[in-house]
Amino acid sequence: MPRPERRFVTFSIDGREVSAPEGVMLVDGAKYGDVEIPVFCYEPKLGAPVGACRMCLVEVEGIPKLQTACSTPVKDGMVVHTQTDRVREAQNSVIEFLLVNHPLDCPVCDKGGECPLQDITFGWGRGISRMVEPKRHFKKPLELSPLIAIDRERCILCYRCVRFSQEVSEDYQLVLNERGASTYVGTFDGHPYVAPFSGNIIELCPVGALTSRAYRFRARPWDIEGAGSVCTHCPAQCNVEFTVRDERVLRVLARDNEGVDDGWLCDKGRFAYQAIHSEERITEPLVRDSESGELVPATWEYALDVAAAALQAGGSKTAALAGGTTTNEEGFLLQRVVREALKSPHVDSRAGLPQVDLGLQQALAAPGLQATIPDLEFAHTVLVLGTDPIDDVASLDLRIRKGVRRNGVKLAVATSRPSALDPNAKLWLRYAPGGEHAFVAALEAAVTGSGDLSALCDAADADPKALEALAALLKDGGEDVVILWSQRLGAAPLPALLNVAAALRLEGRDGAGLIEVPVGGNGRGLREAGVQSNGGPGLSAPKAPGKPAREIAAALASGDLSTLWLLHADPVRDYADRRLWERAAANADALVAHATLLNDTLREHATVVFPAESYAEKEGTIVNLDGRVQRLRVAIGRPGAVRAEWQVIADLSKRLGLDLGVLTGPMATRQLVEAVPFYAGLTLKEIGGRGVRWQEREAASAAPAAPAGPVESGEPLPAPRPNGALRLGTYRPIWAAPEVEVSPALKFLAAKQQAELSPVDAERLGVDNGAKVSVTAGDATVLAKVFVRGNVPAGTVFLAEATAEQSATELLGEAPQLVSVEPYGQRPPVPLEGLARGARPSDDEVNS
């Protein structure tokens, strides 16, 4: 659905002529005339108003009864009164009724001081109550979930939380139980309300009924300061406001930015701030002691000397990897040091994914082909390709649901793993893990009408009829098509994707285009800053192409490279082929890392570990999915001896004989802006609090021109045939992250390995939900608990990547592969030497 046009109508409120957009509700329309109408239940983000609280009653001439301003749209010539005696009497009475059962325990309540009920009672209430009868009592405090405390006495039944659960996050868990005066909010059977977006109801609650357990009694509104910044836990980069007291982040609130997050946060963004103040945080430089072989605290000067010596010794055999919360500036300085001072071309930030040809990258980054995040909400058709937003870019999940629910967006989901968006989709398709290239090529064939669709579908193990339906939906469902695709698709399918976009004529069309979901919080920004093996700043060609991450690992393991420099990256945990990276880390002569938390790799192999800043301490810029350059601002002071990262890189560089000329953070920003042509002229002031999309600035014309014409998409490899074994598909759960594991509030959610099996395979293996299985590929085995999921395609098992233990990356090799799944613990595991990658186990082995 294209965005509706805005027409203005004129109406009168309290004797003022006010012009407001047609169709907005009176509450919003009144704001155009600076008239405030009090509300509790009305929240435009939740969709259609319900008129439950009756606080917004106003008098409209021509209508005998008072009307709820939250559900009465403005009309031309309407005459509204909000200050008459009738209205005042109604407001006073509503407040009095709301307070009949409200306990008024404001001194104890966490909402006290920032509570709409307090404010509105002071502003519109009678001031005294005539009710002397005993109030309704509930047991309190109660846990609604480990993250949320519920106090039912305080609830005024505004329905906001229930509407959020039912209509926004669509987890359908919260309901109103009982009826009338006994109504209370809860889950139907009393189970804890655990959902990826549950924390939003804390912010929605207009009273203190739903409060954060992590923030419980931590501070009062007058004790705290708000500090706006951006969350860097995933590429969605939601805008947040840190609540800071005594130089500690105590809470994270959403900072509504329509172009980024629409005002919602996931629970990881909301609660993983606790990792900033974790006991395990590194706050001083650590250097490996040559005698004891342990990492010991050291002074900065000594640590910098040791690191510089190690890097100098490595020289052109040094490789650098950036990831996580690395800002554009840090990435830019890192690649300058590695390329200019060390003369090594090996820098990468692509999380171990295959290297994408630079011309292809330039074509995909073309400003005309770029859709914006709000486009997801107003497009005719949205295709989600190879990603489950809930795990990869959480807040976009809500954005897509909103588009489908409110604007009639036709959603198509094409993934290998069943997606959380399937129930909302008009069409969902599955392809086999490893069949990405064949699938996108088949989509190209279906859209363009050329090529052998059935053979390609066969190679991708996808349903040709569904693909044709998808092509028809994309072609005939309206011109505005947005394709949300994942960097995890790899490199091979991208030419076909470009051809699909060309066939659908997405280039240059407002409201249509592609959005890439990168891996890592600032994946896009780091690539644009030049932190990749085959691309310099601004997607230019580097002087010498370097090795991508995977080859770096192989070269380190074989001794071709000697030194590894990690900036917020943890390749052993995050990148595919864990064992290769373990070998690489062990084999490296020196390992220099900037990290906030120690992990086993660093503990065993690091030469120097610099304490890194957390995202609340950083200043710099990052780039969102759709090219929005956003600004990280310092919210709290750096703990202990932590230094700014640009400063550490600049100090190292000086010791390596290159003066970067960076004395302050903004100087690094200026250097970056000068080096990237399409950022030209960008200033921190211009970025401001809401960010700015570089495609919308004049300098965007300096973006590298993409090669024209259809791209040769190559011959896709077929996805492996299971033939009795199972295909391995992997995904990275939202909860698989070290910051989740060290946050006390979120610890209970930390991802554990589970094998998602189809009912057919589960029955064949004789395992049920919760049973333990071993998943084996070659000589690597991962233990997992079985989760039988109805819509997992038979013949495939899905495992989580990047879990703390038993990560699926252990099994991931170079090629997509087959694994054997065996019940564990019932009998000794069958020796599986014969079961090499792709080899077929005998039926006995599988069935027994």
């Binding site: 001194p107 104890v108 009694f217 009062r220 007058w222």
Partner: protein
């Protein structure tokens, strides 16, 4: 050209010229009038209080050092750590950090209690707003005004110090005093 003040000129009133009978009266009469007060008070006892041995009794509403209170029957603290006193304080000298009561560790009557309650008495202006703001009458202004110390940091009073029964160092004025 000089400015003509015109009507604005104010005539300065000066004392009468000395001399004559008026001069004599001023020289002796006024002196004697003053001495009358001096001699008149000569037989009274001195009014100087020998502080610190002797202290002036204070009025019941005198605002001295703060006190925190407990319930007499249960022994629980009245303060629930709501931090309203800190909000009301114009000198910003109160710091409250609240925490949650647990059944094993119950400090106050409500859900929360003040884990840290500090008043920086070197900043306090003894206005008594904290007492007015307190919804539980947990903090009141006492009568003690003897708080000088050798160290500024010793003037930060913690919860334990404020809860402790203060030394009765200051006599209270009785009703007829």
């Amino acid at each position: 050209m000089a400015w003509n003040p015109g009507e604005d000129v104010v005539a300065v009133q000066r004392a009468p010229k000395p001399g004559g009978a008026g001069g004599a009266y001023r020289a002796f009469g006024e002196t004697l009038r003053g001495l009358k007060t001096t001699f008149g008070r000569m037989l009274e006892r001195p009014v100087v209080y020998q502080y610190p041995e002797e202290k002036v009794p204070v009025y019941p509403r005198f605002r001295g050092r703060h006190k925190l209170h407990k319930f007499a029957d249960t022994g629980l603290e009245k303060c629930v750590g709501c931090s309203l006193c800190a909000a009301a304080c114009p000198a910003d000298c109160i710091r409250v950090v609240a925490a949650e009561n647990t059944p094993e560790h119950r400090v106050s009557a409500g859900e929360r209690y003040a884990a840290v309650y500090e008043i920086n008495l070197s900043r306090c202006i003894f206005c008594g707003y904290c007492e007015v703001a307190c919804p539980f009458d947990a903090i009141t202004m006492g009568h003690d005004y003897e708080m000088s110390d050798y160290n500024r940091t010793d003037l930060i009073f913690t919860k334990e110090m404020l809860l402790a029964e203060p030394l009765e160092r200051t006599p209270l004025r009785t009703e007829d005093e």
